[in-house]
Point group: C2
Chain length 368, copies 2
C-alpha cells in the first residue's frame, strides 16, 4: 500500500486519506476547515479531496496547513441527503462520493471519509469496494461514551441492515473485536450480545443461536465473550463491544443521543433559572466544558463501515470542522494500524474455521 500511496501527489511517505468534500449539511468549507485542522496537528497525513475542482482549489488555497498536502480530484456531481441509494448506484458516477470511494478501490488511499447520505454511501461502498470474502452483511460501528477506562464502547451494527441472523452476528463480533483492537488498543476485547436480559433462556431465537456460535468461536478469535448484555450496558463497563442487528442498534443509538441532548438542554435551562444559578453556571464553566468534551458526539464523530475491501468512515451529516477532524483522526489511526488488512485476515480465517466446524459436524452427522 505504501508504494502506491507514495505515488499520490499529496506527499511522499504520508498516510493518505480520501475525503469526500461534498454532501454534508455545512458544505465543503467545513470539510476543508476540518482537514486543515488535522493537517496542522499531524504532519503525517495527506489528503485526496473530491469535489468541484475550482471551488475546492479556492478553499484549500486559503488554508496554510494544507499547502502541498492535498490532491484535488474533480467531481462535479453531489449526492444529496434526499437522493435514494438505488439512484446514486445507477447515476452517481460523476459524484464526489463515488470518486472518494474509488480512491480506496484503486489503493491510492486506505480509508475514505464522507459526511454525506449514509444510505447512499453504504450502497456505493458495497458496489465499489465489495464485501470481504466471508462477510454476508457489512456493518456500521460507532463509538459510544462509556464507563470503561478507554472512555468509549464500540456498538455495531447501527443501521447498515435491519436484519441479522446468527452468522451475521458472529461476523459483527469478529469485526467489532478487530475494530476495538486496532482503534482502541484493546488486545483482547470483551464482546457482549445485546438482548432484553442476561439470562441465557431469554430473547429471540436467533440470539440464542448467535450466543452459542460466538461462544464457541471466542477463543480462536482472541476475544472474551461475556454473553448477553442489556441496553444499560451500552454506556456501561460490562463489555467493550456491543453486538446487535442494525434495527435495534440504530434505535439504541438515536435514543441515547436524544436522551443526552434532552438532558443537555434541561441543564442549560436549569442554569438560566435564577441569578444565583446563572452565577453558578459561570463558576462551573470549565467543569461543564470538561464534561461536554467527554461526551461530545463530535469527538467520536465517525461511524465506520466494516466488512468491505477498505474502510469507510461516515461522519455526521451536520459535522463541523471539529467533527471532520475527529473523523480524519480515526481514519488515520485505522489506516496506520493496517486495520483493513488485519480485519480481512481475521474474518477470512474465522470463516474457514466455521466452515471446518460445519464440515466436521456434518461428518459426525450433526447439523450444518
Amino acid at each position: 500500500m505504501t508504494a502506491l500511496q507514495d505515488q499520490s501527489t499529496a506527499g511522499a511517505g504520508r498516510t493518505i486519506i480520501s475525503v469526500d468534500a461534498m454532501g454534508g449539511d455545512r458544505g465543503p468549507a467545513a470539510v476543508v476547515a476540518g482537514i486543515s485542522r488535522s493537517a496542522k496537528k499531524n504532519p503525517d497525513i495527506g489528503f485526496i479531496l473530491h469535489g468541484p475542482k475550482a471551488e475546492l482549489d479556492k478553499l484549500v488555497a486559503r488554508k496554510k496547513p494544507l499547502a502541498g498536502r492535498v490532491e484535488i480530484r474533480d467531481a462535479q456531481g453531489v449526492v444529496t441527503m434526499e437522493d435514494k441509494p438505488s439512484h446514486v448506484m445507477r447515476h452517481g458516477k460523476d459524484t464526489s462520493m463515488w470518486s472518494a470511494l474509488d480512491a480506496v478501490r484503486s489503493g491510492d488511499a486506505d480509508v475514505c471519509v464522507s459526511c454525506g447520505n449514509t444510505g447512499a454511501l453504504m450502497a456505493l461502498s458495497m458496489v465499489r469496494l465489495r464485501k470481504l470474502p466471508g462477510v454476508n452483511r457489512p456493518a456500521i460501528a460507532v463509538l459510544w461514551p462509556s464507563r470503561n477506562p478507554q472512555g468509549f464502547n464500540v456498538m455495531l451494527d447501527v443501521g447498515a441492515d435491519v436484519r441479522a441472523d446468527e452468522h451475521d452476528l458472529l461476523q459483527y463480533a469478529l469485526m467489532g473485536a478487530s475494530y476495538a483492537r486496532n482503534g482502541m488498543d484493546l488486545p483482547r476485547p470483551r464482546i457482549g450480545l445485546l438482548n432484553v436480559g442476561t439470562e441465557e433462556h431469554k430473547g429471540r431465537a436467533e440470539l440464542k443461536l448467535a450466543h452459542d456460535l460466538i461462544k464457541s468461536n471466542a477463543d480462536r478469535a482472541g476475544l472474551d465473550f461475556v454473553g448477553f448484555v442489556e441496553g444499560s450496558d451500552i454506556p456501561g463497563d460490562a463489555c467493550d463491544v456491543i453486538v446487535t442487528d442494525g434495527f435495534t442498534g440504530n434505535v439504541a443509538l438515536k435514543t441515547g443521543e436524544g436522551t443526552a441532548s434532552l438532558i443537555g438542554d434541561l441543564l442549560k435551562e436549569a442554569f438560566q433559572f435564577s441569578p444565583l444559578s446563572r452565577l453558578a453556571s459561570l463558576l462551573a464553566f470549565t467543569s461543564m466544558q470538561r464534561l461536554k468534551k467527554r461526551i461530545d458526539p463530535r469527538r467520536v464523530n465517525g461511524g465506520v463501515f466494516l466488512g468491505l475491501n477498505g474502510t469507510v468512515v461516515k461522519s455526521h451529516g451536520s459535522a463541523d470542522a471539529t467533527g471532520i477532524a475527529a473523523a480524519v483522526k480515526l481514519a488515520h489511526l485505522l489506516s496506520q494500524s493496517g486495520f483493513s488488512h488485519k480485519l480481512a485476515a481475521r474474518v477470512a480465517s474465522a470463516s474457514e474455521q466455521v466452515q471446518d466446524t460445519a464440515t466436521e459436524q456434518s461428518e459426525d452427522g450433526g447439523k450444518e
Copy 2:
C-alpha cells in the same frame, strides 16, 4: 366497581389500590413507607396490602397516615427476583403477588401495584386477570421524560413480549392512546411507530404493514397517527406515544436510562474536580435539584401492564418510598378515570371494526 370497593374494610368511598408488599429489593418497609406517603397526600386512597400479616401489621401500625386505611391480606410466600415465571405460575398460590392480583380479579380493587419480578408478575397477571377480548399480546407501557408540554411520552411495549406483528402493534397503538388519554389527559394523543427512519419505504416488513393498519384505524380510534418516528423522538416532541415491539422497546428504555445515569455520574465528577467547581455545585444546588426532579426515574416509576382485565402497575424493583408513592399515584389516577373499562371498550370496538373491515375486503375480493 364502586359498590364492591365499598365492601372493602379499607374505607368506604375510597379508591382501593391493591399493593404487593413483598418482592422489591428494599423489602416491605419501603413499600409501607411509600403507601403512607400517598395516604398522607391523598385522603381518597385506601389500600389492600398483601404479605406476611404479622410483619405488615407492625410496619403499618408505625405509620399514622395509614390508620384505618389499610386492609392486610395474609400471604406467606414471596416471589423472588430469581424465580422463573413458569415456576410461580404453578406454585405461587401462597405468594403476596398472587394475592395482590386476585384482589383485582375479584373486583375488590381496580388496580394492583407491585415492585416484584417483572416476568413473574406478567405471567401471573395473564393467568389470573386474563387478556382482554381482542388482545393477543398484552404490553408494558412506561412514561419517558420528553420535550412535550406534558413532560413525558408513553412508550410501549417495553418488554412484555419480544415479538409483535402488525396486529399487535395496532393494539399497542390503541392501548397507548387510551393510556395517554386517561393517564396524561391528552384528548387526542399523537402516535408514532418506531423505526430506523421516517421514510415510508424504510424498516422491517411488519412495520410497513403496521403503518398502514394504524393509519386506516386512526380516525375511528380518535388518535393522530404521525407515522414512523426514530429513537431520537422517544424523548422528543414529535408524538406522545411511541409504539414498538417489546425487544426494541426494552433495549431503548435501558439504553436511555443507562445514558442518563452515566451523564449524571459524570456531572457529579465534573463538580468535584476543583475547589471552584465545588463552589459552583453549591450555588447550582437548587437548579440541579429541579433538573433531577424533572428527569428522576422514580417520579415516573411505574410500567403499566395493558391489555388485561384490570390494570397492573409495575414499580422498579429498587423503588424506595418515593418510587412506591409515584406508582400509587399513577394507579390512583388510572383507577379514578375508569381506565380499565375505557380501555377494554376501546379495544373491543376497534377489534370489531377491524373484523368488519376484513369481512368487507373479503366480500370485495380484497385480501384478508
